[in-house]
Subunit: 219 residues, 2 copies
C-alpha cells in the first residue's frame, strides 16, 4: 500500500487525491493518508527530514521504504500507463512543459498569495509581498486563458496530469485574492475538470484560515 | 532542423547546449541557435509572445512550426530513447523529481541571485533580496550535498538530464555569491559532469556582467 504524507488544504497534495480518485483508488484500501501539517512545522522534525531533506509535502512511501517527492513527479509515476499521461514522447513532453510552468510560473505566486492570506496573521510583514505576487499570478492566469481559448485541456490527448497539476491552486485562487471573473476560459475549464469521472473536491479550509481569507479581502 | 531561441549566459538555455553536445549534435548542422537576450527584453516583442505567451527562453521550434517551451520539458523530449533519460517508470519519475526540485527549490534562488549580481546596477533595489535568496539557495545546495553523499548522480541509472538541469546554475553559483567551499560532494559532482563525453562549457559572461559580479563580491 502507498502511504501519502500530505496536508489536506495544500493544492500540491490534493493533486494526488484527485488522480487517485480518477483512477478509482480508495482511501485506506489502496492508499493511506498521513495528515502532515506543513503550515505548522510537521515537515521539520528530524524523522521527516531524514526521509525528505527538502522538508516538503507531498511525499509517498511504500512499505518497503521506497519514497518519492515532488507532487508533479508523483503524478507522472501514478499516471504511467493510464490515459492521464498519454501520447507519444513529444506529447508527453508538452504535458510536462505545463507541469514545469505550474511549478515555476504559477504556484510560487498563486499558491503563495493564498497561503499568506489564509495562514499568516493580518499584520504579517509577508503581506507586503501580495501586490507583486498577484501581478505575477495574473500573468500566469493570462497564459492559461490564452491556451484555453484554443485547446480544451493542458495535457496532450485529453484531460490528464497537467490539468490536475494546474487545477491544484487555480480552483482556489480566489482565496489568494485572485478574481477569476476576467478569465472565462479558465472558469469553463475548471467546470470541465470538476465533471471528470471520480473527481474528488478539496475539503473546505479550516475556520481559522477561512476567517483570515475573508479578512484579507476587506483589509 | 531544430531552432533554439536561447540566451547564452542563461543556465536554463545552456542545459540544451549541454545535452545536444552529449548527443553529438552540432551547431548549424543539427540545430540553429538564435541568440535571444531575455535580460534586455528580447522575449517581449509581440512576435515572440505570439510563439511563447509566457515570454521566456529557451524555446525550440521546428521548420513546420511545432514548438516547445520549458527547459526541463525540452530536455525530456531530446533525451527520450537515450541513456540520458533511462530507467523504468519509477526511475524516470525520480529523475523528474530532481528536475522539479531544480525549478522550484533551486533556480528561483541560485539563478536569481546570480542575475541580480551580474545583470542589475549596484544600486538596484532588487539587491535587498540577496540575503533571503542566498539563504534559500544554500538550503537547496544542502539538499544536493546530502544526496551526493550517497549517490553519484541525480538522474536514475547514471548521468543524465537531472544532472544537466542541476548543473545549469550550480556550476556558476559563485557568480551569485554562493561559496561552494562547504559542499565537497557538489564540487566532485561538478567535476564528474565536466568529464562527460561531449561536455560543452557555458561561454564566459560578458565583461559588463563580470564586472558587476566582481563589484557585488566586494560591495
Amino acid at each position: 500500500m502507498i502511504t501519502i504524507y500530505g496536508y489536506s488544504p495544500s493544492g500540491n497534495c490534493h493533486k494526488l487525491r484527485m488522480l487517485l480518485g480518477h483512477l478509482g483508488r480508495r482511501l485506506d484500501q489502496d492508499f493511506r493518508w498521513i495528515e502532515t501539517d506543513s503550515a505548522h512545522g510537521a515537515t521539520r522534525p528530524p524523522e521527516y527530514l531524514a526521509k525528505n531533506p527538502n522538508g516538503r509535502v507531498p511525499m509517498i512511501e511504500f512499505d518497503d521504504g521506497r519514497r518519492m517527492v515532488e507532487s508533479n513527479a508523483i503524478l507522472c509515476w501514478l499516471a504511467e500507463g493510464t490515459p492521464y499521461f498519454a501520447g507519444d514522447a513529444w506529447q508527453r513532453a508538452q504535458t510536462l512543459a505545463w507541469m514545469f510552468f505550474e511549478q515555476y510560473s504559477h504556484e510560487p505566486f498563486v499558491a503563495v498569495a493564498r497561503f499568506i492570506c489564509g495562514w499568516t496573521p493580518l499584520d504579517s510583514p509577508r503581506r507586503a509581498d501580495l501586490p507583486k505576487l498577484r501581478e505575477r499570478g495574473h500573468q500566469a492566469l493570462a497564459v492559461m486563458e490564452k491556451h484555453l481559448a484554443e485547446h480544451p485541456w493542458f495535457s496532450s490527448e485529453g484531460y490528464g496530469i497537467a490539468d490536475i497539476a494546474l487545477f491544484g491552486y487555480t480552483h482556489c485562487a480566489d482565496e489568494g485574492g485572485f478574481d477569476l471573473g476576467a478569465y472565462p476560459a479558465i472558469r469553463g475549464w475548471l467546470d470541465r475538470v470538476r465533471a471528470q469521472p471520480g473527481f474528488v473536491p478539496m475539503p473546505p479550509i479550516a475556520m481559522e484560515n477561512a476567517e483570515l481569507v475573508a479578512q484579507s479581502r476587506t483589509a
